[in-house]
């Protein structure tokens, strides 16, 4: 008895206890919603009953699946949008990965000048709503097809852009990858930074050329981060709605997310959720590939406790040219759209770009029915509702970033230390699932799950806590991916040494595991932080007047066409997020000079 008990006690390692706790928690927050969503696809909903002869609301049915996958119009309903979705998701993931990885390498591993500016500016595209880039593209390149004022490019050159260039897959891939490349920049940047320079130096001593070192040493070591980036970007590509609808509609390029929205709006959730299930399955497929490829490789331990910092690649006389190229790229994709947003906030009457039309009214004006758009709204900075919503957004973003950050480290630790075990796999996949669920569906399901008390869980309806839970679950993958790639690179000997020295688990985590990978964790927290500030569809069903957020409250201006307010709020968010990023980097000691800057 005693030995059995002891054996049991011995088996209670921190990673096991953590794993079990996480599996229970995630099971409730991930598997249950997934199951609920799947169940909807087999049920007759009120407006669906008219198309299913003889059916009653609430009955079980296979009709939704038959219609979507096997009917004579299945190609139009499902397969065509599916193909478009895959085209876009693959295209944008590769492009975003390439841009992100290149920038990360330049910033971390070379002596390119102006790193500080570039590193900070490179996250901005992700802070901006993705529609700003789509809008910018249309403004620049639209042709006669969608009428209105001439596109700037055509106006300047006299050349009409072809339709494939102005609308559809091509611009969707470009604008989405310009929006999502910061993923790769941050995650790969973190991984590159942690590669032991001795490895490269040894290779160099053995006569390997630069490209060989890059191909045989740096690439394989950065592979987990590369795959994580691909997975995160690809999944976003599967579910994204606004940009494909806006740029694809004029030439009839539709994606699965359109099917989801169309059927939810048509009050046919049973059909709509099939599109969502398809998106989730595709994501799971990529997740599985990730496991196959990364999982079967030996892990590469790059932080062995005796590492030296990497030396920087000298770009020689090219360094200024390259820096100039990067800066121009950033100016083009970031500064120009931001300026376009900013200009609209200081034009009294929209679209009239003249000095007499300049005003601060939308920022600091009094409520008036006679000035400008005649909105009767006080300027943004004097608008107490907007300011308190902005406060809520920031509070939520900080809380979610901290919570996901901590959870990400712990889950990452459990996954890596339990590797080879089914628990590790289950945890890894479960923590990723909510990220694959379209937020419009997840929001509705969480509303239903938490509106009433269930067992030990009280009703969280309308509470701030519910917003925190929903965002945490939804953005946990960022932090877990960061946590896993960080933990993978830490050799067990570091922890073992601490263990030998008598350090408790808590001390080991606090003094060893976390500090050595600070910048990777930081990236893992930064993404949830930014994501929360922009989230709308996930939270719209859950906010109350007391918990209004910047995005939900801005809706009322968007739908009246009062863009100076909408744009002003977006600008404020960008300013706040960038400022807090810079400050927190300093505070956390992962500042540019020592951190991403190599």
């Amino acid at each position: 008895m005693r030995t059995a008990y002891n054996r049991f006690r011995m088996s209670l390692t921190p990673q096991r206890i953590l794993s079990v706790l996480f599996i229970i928690g995630l099971g409730y927050l991930v598997i249950v919603p997934l199951f609920l969503m799947l169940r909807e696809t087999f049920i007759v909903h009120p407006l669906e009953r008219f198309q299913i002869p003889g059916s009653q609301v609430g009955e079980l049915t296979l009709a939704h699946w038959k219609r979507t996958l096997f009917s004579e119009n299945a190609y139009a309903f499902f397969y065509h949008p599916l193909l478009n979705t895959l085209k876009i998701a693959f295209g944008m993931s590769f492009l975003a990965l390439a841009i992100g990885a290149l920038l990360a390498w330049l910033v971390v591993r070379t002596d390119m000048p102006m790193k500080g500016f570039i590193a900070n500016a490179a996250i901005i595209p992700y802070i901006m709503p993705s529609w700003t880039l789509a809008l910018a593209w249309i403004t620049l390149f639209k042709n006669e097809r969608i009428g209105g004022d001439q596109g700037i490019f055509s106006a300047l050159t006299g050349i009409e852009t072809p339709d494939w260039f102005a609308y559809g897959t091509f611009p969707i891939i470009i604008t989405l990858s310009l929006h999502y490349f910061p993923f790769g920049f941050m995650l790969i940047g973190g991984a590159l930074r942690n590669i032991d320079a001795q490895l490269e130096e040894s290779a160099e001593l053995l006569g390997a050329s630069r490209p060989t070192i890059l191909r045989r040493i740096v690439m394989p070591l950065a592979l987990p981060a590369i795959f994580s980036t691909f997975l995160l970007t690809f999944s976003r590509g599967l579910g994204t709605f606004g940009t494909p609808a806006f740029l694809g509609g004029p030439v009839r390029e539709f994606v699965l997310s359109t099917s989801l929205y169309a059927n939810l709006i048509g009050q046919r959730p049973g059909i709509g959720y099939i599109a969502a299930v398809a998106m989730i399955l595709l994501g799971v497929l990529v997740l599985y590939m990730d496991h196959k490829i990364i999982g079967t490789r030996r892990s590469f331990v790059t932080i062995s406790g005796k590492g030296a910092r990497a030396g920087l690649v000298a770009l020689g006389r090219w360094r200024w040219v390259i820096a100039a190229g990067v800066v121009i790229f950033i100016l083009g994709t970031i500064v120009v759209p931001i300026c376009a947003l900013a200009i609209d906030t200081v034009m009294l009457r929209p679209g009239i770009y003249a000095w007499e039309n300049f005003t601060w009214h939308y920022w600091i004006g009094d409520a008036s029915l006679n000035i400008g758009l005649g909105t009767g709204e006080p300027g943004i900075l004097r608008n107490s509702q907007l300011m308190s919503a902005l406060g809520n957004t920031m509070k939520l973003a900080v809380v979610v970033a901290v919570v996901t950050g901590i959870l990400g480290i712990l889950v990452g630790y459990a996954i890596v230390r339990m590797r080879g075990n089914w628990i590790s796999q289950a945890l890894d996949q479960m923590s990723f699932l909510p990220y694959l669920m379209p937020s419009i569906a997840l929001g509705a399901i969480f509303l239903a799950m938490f509106a009433v008390p269930r067992g030990p869980i009280p009703s969280l309806h309308g509470s701030f806590l519910l917003l925190v839970i929903v965002c945490t679950v939804s953005y946990l993958p960022y932090a877990v991916k960061a946590g896993v790639s960080a933990m993978r690179q830490i050799g067990p000997e570091l922890e073992e040494a601490a263990l030998m020295a008598g350090a408790s688990w808590w001390t080991r985590m606090r003094r060893v595991m976390i500090p050595v990978q600070k910048s990777t964790y930081f990236s893992g927290m930064l993404l949830p932080f930014i994501s929360v500030t922009r989230e709308l569809s996930l939270l719209i069903l859950l906010v109350t007047p007391a918990t209004q957020l910047a995005t939900t409250i801005t809706l009322r201006y968007t739908d009246r066409g009062w863009y100076p307010y909408t744009n002003g709020m977006v600008l404020l968010l960008i300013i706040i997020v960038v400022t807090s990023t810079v400050i927190s980097r300093r505070v956390m000691g992962t500042n540019i000079a020592k951190g991403l800057g190599g």
């Binding site: 407006l47 309903f77 004029p250 539709f254 048509g266 009767g376 009433v452 007047p545």
Partner: protein, 372 residues
């Protein structure tokens, strides 16, 4: 869990029936308005979900006048229905009333199960037409066809909706994506229901009968319209700007965009006009609907607010543009616009039952040709 759900649904339905009986029966005639007002003052506050952001403005004015505090949460059409539905099913009764659109869907999910009930306040009871009382209509929104007046300075270029399916209009007509616009789906069911009129108009215009491969003229229109390379957009604002922008050789035409966009046309220098010659319909109109929660915590305050919204004063935030019409007959139309009665004669609406039964077919036909 399911059992509980059913019990709750039944309970809600029974309560609803009780209240509905009360409201439509004796109480509707004899309700003591003074008493309701007094009770409203005591309740002091209410929560409203609204699809239109102008409700917030109306609420502000109302609060200033009555001292009753109104919280307005702005939600999209489907978000509003979804949220109210889920909360009602779960027994969360925070919301007191809704200002909803897409009544076809809202009725199915919110009114039929008894979560939301109709209420007709005194002003509406006295002045509104019967058809505007159940559900109680806050206002109607008009959606029109439009063209560029620089290209067509003298005459309306459209005489039939079938013009939009001809070679001349190929790749030139813009519409907000029907797939993501519930009201468009409702409106097009009327084209199915009135297929004969639609087919007759084809014959009037082209002097030959309409040949169809679809089941009826309504669906045939959808097919031909999309095969004529219609341009699918995501925003009405973009449509009106594209149609009306000056200096275009070959401007597009707009279908079913909200007429209220014409308000800013002079300000933005847009050369745009709605078609008044197109047959058999000038577009469509649909209601913004007011409903009271069957389990409202502040039912009297909600009733008083509904009364306020039925008056011209309460409607003021909506009255500042064309294309939005109060059912209150005393309401003067926006400058240059026609009164609601004029539009009701020349514009199609939709039959709610028929729309509920057929909008799935409309959506499927749209998706079939749009995504092919």
């Amino acid at each position: 869990m399911l059992n509980k759900k059913i019990t709750r649904t039944c309970a809600a339905a029974v309560t609803a029936m009780g209240i509905a009986l009360g409201a439509s029966g004796a109480a509707a005639q004899d309700e003591d308005w003074a008493q309701i007002e007094a009770a409203a003052k005591e309740e002091g506050a209410l929560l409203v979900y609204s699809t239109t952001s102008r409700t917030a403005k109306a609420a502000e004015n109302f609060s200033a006048m009555t001292g009753i505090n109104v919280e307005v949460v702005r939600l999209g059409e489907q978000d509003l229905i979804q949220r109210t539905y889920q909360e009602s099913v779960a027994g969360v009764h925070d919301v007191d009333m809704v200002v909803a659109e897409d009544w076809v869907a809202a009725r199915e999910l919110l009114a039929n199960p008894g979560y939301m009930i109709n209420y007709v306040p005194p002003t509406a009871r006295e002045l509104f037409a019967e058809e505007d009382k159940d559900p109680l209509v806050l206002g109607y929104i008009g959606r029109v066809f439009g063209y560029n007046t620089e290209k067509h300075p003298d005459a309306d270029p459209l005489s039939s909706v079938w013009d939009l399916t001809t070679e001349e209009f190929r790749g030139r007509v813009m519409i907000r994506d029907v797939a993501i616009t519930g009201e468009h789906q409702n409106a097009l069911t009327e084209w199915v229901r009135r297929s004969d009129e639609l087919a007759a108009d084809y014959e009037r215009r082209f002097g030959k009968p309409l040949e169809m491969t679809e089941d009826n003229a309504g669906l045939e229109f959808i097919k031909r319209f999309l095969e004529n390379d219609a341009i699918i957009m995501t925003s009405d604002t973009k449509i009106s700007e594209a149609v009306g922008a000056p200096g275009q050789d070959n401007p597009p035409y707009g279908m079913f965009y909200v007429y209220s966009k014409h308000r800013d046309a002079p300000l933005q220098g847009l050369k745009i006009s709605d078609s008044r010659a197109i047959q058999p319909t000038l577009g469509y109109y649909y209601p913004i609907v007011l409903q009271l929660s069957a389990n409202a915590k502040h039912p009297n305050a909600a009733k008083v607010f509904m009364e306020y919204l039925s008056t011209m004063e309460g409607f003021a935030p909506w009255a500042d543009s064309p294309g939005v019409y109060s059912p209150n007959p005393n309401q003067v139309p926006f400058e240059g616009d026609m009164p609601l009665s004029w539009w009701k004669e020349k514009m199609w609406h939709y039959d709610r039952d028929f729309a509920a039964e057929n909008r799935g077919i409309v959506l499927d036909t749209w998706l079939k040709y749009a995504q092919r």
